[in-house]
Structures are given as structure tokens and as C-alpha cells.
Symmetry: C2
Amino acid sequence: MVTIKDIAAILQVSPSTVGRALADDRRISAEMKRKVNEAATQVGYVANQAARMMRGVESNLVGLIVPDIRNSFYSTIAHALSRCLLSANYQLTLCETDDDRMLELRHIKELTSVNVAGIILVPSAKPHPDSARFLKMTPHIQLLRKQQLLGEQWFGIDDRRALYESTLHILSEGHRRIAYIGGTEALPTGAARVQGFREAVKTSSHQVDIHEELGAPSSPEFGREAVRRLLSLKERPTALVIGAVQNTSGVIDEIQDQALSVPRDISVVGFGDELGYRWWGPGLTTVQLPVSQLATACGLWFLHHLQNKGDLDTPYSFISPPQLIIRGSTAAPSNPR
Amino acid sequence: MVTIKDIAAILQVSPSTVGRALADDRRISAEMKRKVNEAATQVGYVANQAARMMRGVESNLVGLIVPDIRNSFYSTIAHALSRCLLSANYQLTLCETDDDRMLELRHIKELTSVNVAGIILVPSAKPHPDSARFLKMTPHIQLLRKQQLLGEQWFGIDDRRALYESTLHILSEGHRRIAYIGGTEALPTGAARVQGFREAVKTSSHQVDIHEELGAPSSPEFGREAVRRLLSLKERPTALVIGAVQNTSGVIDEIQDQALSVPRDISVVGFGDELGYRWWGPGLTTVQLPVSQLATACGLWFLHHLQNKGDLDTPYSFISPPQLIIRGSTAAPSNPR
DNA sequence: TTGAAAGCGCTAACAC
DNA sequence: GTGTTAGCGCTTTCAA
């Protein structure tokens, strides 16, 4: 490993001169800076961050904790954040929790241990109390999901409104037997979404039959099973409203496998917007969430506070509105009551 | 920040005793260890990795460099690797290059600077010579793409064979006017894939018309344009063979927009296997690449070498075979010559 | 079984 | 404008 001492030895100057030259200190002559920089690139010098940090210089690592990076929500977030952080010379450290609170705690400890400048996290369903304790030691902000326990700052999406709007759309098409397939109410997002669904239904002046399939954890498999259960009812729902990304692919696969015609036999509103939704049958009507914008906004805000030592404790929520994308999978029911 | 000194002060022992107790040194009495551990959790002590590293202890960070995490190839890789590394207590640091060699170099320097234990990378098209120089200082291994310049160890996929097989499939269906839409030959993967395409064509005993659309960089937009160009030919190809993931969605979107009937008007073989490919029209026939397995194998191998100080210099290639998934988008041409 | 002390590479306060 | 020196938190000799 090449250190500033080595460079100092080569140029016959003191280590501090080299250090200052590399830090572009204004007390160092241009000539010396030139020589030092030349020698540094010559021998392939790379500053030792560990040593810097021991001197109190802040780390340029930011931890990102998400459930599963393969989920396009989270890879979009990771991408947007890494772009955003890069511009300020920060690196992203990726941690996956698989929605496991112990794993989450382990990652938080680990990140604290490497002195990350901050942590951006999508918290798990029921975080460990110790996670909150360790997070107190590090600037952090929550994304998408919000757990009171972990802090007061949050960038999220209006989940209630997302489902409110997709349900309203279905109602406006004339459906009166509607099923909701979503995640558990234990997750704040899950709770907000069913709530949105229920509220929308309440606004209807007609009598509306509803079925709720709330699964934990959300998964394609749960989506499939929910569809099977719903189709076996005497009175089948004429429309399906989905309230979790992970459920969506299972639901639409099952509908395809059962050879139902969409939207004739059944209308479907998806959640999230994966690449392939537009290819499915007549195109899946869905609520699109502005995840990329959200992550960028979050990254900028976070950076701003890291750099200005601003406090990330005062409660603040940034709520971003969803957008309904209407494709071919929703229409009026073929035989309304 | 809580240090071992603080714990030492609380327990009225020396810092070294605390350090040893935490390291589970066998010379420390069980009683003392118990007290130290209790005090440590009590006050929320977290070891300072920076300080450890200064003493020569290896970092537990592994750098992952990929072009774009939103690409499902790379998010799959990131997921598989992070699982794999987690079991050995390593963390993943994510870097996106956007296929930009300067960005790649910057990331490599940065990673060297934080003393990562190693680097796993999907190299860019034409890496900067300095990247090679800095990589020499750190254990590293290449994934998917292989650049001689950057090192000798590589875990990849048999790209030549992937295209060889998809082309063979198309030929066996009876097509004689075939177009290839893929990436530039400047990338090793791109080159191998066209080569596979050409070799397959050569095996045919019939006369086969081919068109090659090689784009750089690959993108949905390029895919769309390529399709438009191909469809405007007097003699339209009856089959399309795709040789790049990024092109695939553009190609199939354009075919859908042009309202072509697949496979009647044209047959299509895709590349990679995104979630939505099975929803597109009659289902997209495609070559599936075992990316997850590949990444896991790579992670295991890498860990093994990190932990055993094994050398990662001796040339070694691990090549994984692709698999053709036949769905509905390929059939015999409706009006063969 | 425990303590004292050196030193990793760097920065910054203090000299000159 | 440049050199000297102390010290960040930890591990690891060497001493006791």
C-alpha cells in the first residue's frame, strides 16, 4: 500500500506537505502541488479512508436497506439514489432484509460499525427495538414504509389515495362485486391501502359487495391462491383490485391460466408498474407509483442534511401522489346486477 | 461514540482487557467476558471498523460494479451475491457505471480507497487502463463480461451458445430470412453472440438471408428502430433473433405497435427472461440465462479465495450454459420461399 | 490473567 | 510555505 509517507520520501518533503498538497490546501505552492499530484498518480496512491475517518472526517458511505433488490421498486430506488449520491461523491452500501427484523438489526449494526454517513431504509414490518436504538446514532430517513419507532422523517407514497383511486375507477365502471387482494394490515402501507379501498367503496351510493384477501407476506403465490378462492365463490366478483406489487404477477398469471377473458369476465387493476404489465392481455390498468422521483427527492434531501449537519429528527413527511394508468384490463361488467 | 475505553472506565479495567474480551480471547476469564459483553450491550457499543482496519484487519466490504441495477440481470446478481456474502458476514457496496469507463474507474478508485476486501465487476465496454492498475491492488473477479485487461478470472455465460441455440431453433422451424438484433461487437458478449448467430446460420444446408442490426449501446429505442428498418425492407425477414436484453422490450413493443401477428407474420426469439415475457402475445420464446446460479457460484468462489488468501490471478473461467424457453412466439413461417 | 505502550495512515494545531 | 507532532480507536506485542 502506498502512503503519503512514501510520496514524501520520494519528493524529500514532509508527510504533512504531501497531505496538504493532496487536499489542495491554499498554503501550498502550485509548484509543489503539481509535483505531489504527479508523484501520487505515478505510484498509484489511493487515500486510506479508514485513516481519514479516524481523524473525524466523515465517511462517504450511505447505507441503503431494502427488503429485496430484485423487486423493481427497490432497484429503481437504488438506482436513483446511487445517481444522486454519486454527484456528491457518496457511495451506496446495499443491504437486503428479506423483511426479517433480525437481519435488519444486523445490517443496521454493521452499517453503524463502518461509520456510514447515514442510512436510508425501507423498514421491515415490525422492527426490533434495538434497531431504533442504533439508528439514533446515525442520520437516517425512511422510505416508502414508515415506522414511528424508527424515526420521524419519511419519504413515501400516498398509499391510501392509490387504492382509493383505483377502486373509484372500478366503481365508476359500474362494478358492484369487488375483491381486494393486498398485504397485511400490520404493515403501515398495507393498512393504508385497504383503508383507501374501503373508503372508496363507502362513497358509492349503490350497495357494493366486497371481499378482502389480505396476505402476509405478499407473494405471487398468495395472489394466485386468492384468485382461486375468489373464483370458487357462488357470486364471483366482477372486478379485482390489487394492493401489493408482489401479488400482482401471481394474480394475473392465475387469471391467464384459468383462461378468463379480461375485461369481459373480470376487470383487474394492478399495483405498481412493471415492464411487462402493458403486455399482459389487453394491457393491465394499474396505479403507477413515482418511485424514481421519490427516491431522488429523498436522496437530495438527505444529502442536503448530511452536508449541512441539518437535523433529521424533526418530524417531516414527504408524500408523493400515485397515478392511475388506464389500459385495457378494466371495463364495465358484462352482466351487472 | 462509545469506545472500548469507555467500557474499560466503567469496569475499571484496562482497554486491552476489554478489547480481548470482545475478541473472545482465550486468556480472558469467562467472568470478565460476561461483564464486558454485558456492559457493551448496555451502553450500545459498536466496534469502529475504521480503527480495526488501520490495524490491518481486513474490511468486510465487497464492491459490486454493474452497469445499471434496474436491469434484472444485475439486480438478480446483486441479490444472489448479497445473500451469499451475508452468510460470511460481508457487506455489499453497490456501484453503477452506466457503461461509462470513467465512472467505472472512479468507482474502482473509491472502492480501493475504502479498502474493500474485494471487487466483483461486470466491466464496461472498453475499460480505462488505470482501472486495471487499481484492480491489481485488490482481489477481484469479473462477471458476465470478460475483459482480458482487467484480469484472468471470470464467471460468465456461454453467449455464443445462447445465440447458436436460439438461431438453430428458428432455422429448424423453417425460416430462411432471419434478422439479428443485438449489441456491438466491441463488447465481448456482443461479439460472442453474433458469432453464435452466424455459426448457426452456416450449419444450414439451405440458403439463408440474414440481416444484422448491431447497436451501441443496446436500448429499447435501438430495438424499436431496428424493427422499423427491418420491416421497411422489400423482403421482410420472417424471423427475428434478439441478442441483447436491453433491446428486447423495444423490439416487442414495436411489433405490438405495428399490429403484427406473432408468430404468423413474424417469429421472435428474445434474450434473457424478464417477468413479463410470458405475458407478451403468445408468450415470448427466449434464451434464459442462469444468472442467479452464476452469481451464487461466483460469490462462493470469491469468498473461498478471500478467506483462504487463495490467489485470484491464475486464469480461470466458469462458463454456464443458457437454456432455450420455447413459448408461442416462434413457429414455421406462413409463406416460406 | 491482566496492564502498558506502540503504532496503523492520516489530519490539524502549532511551530518556524 | 513547510516541518513537527499529537492523536483518532483499535490490536498486539511485551511485561508483569
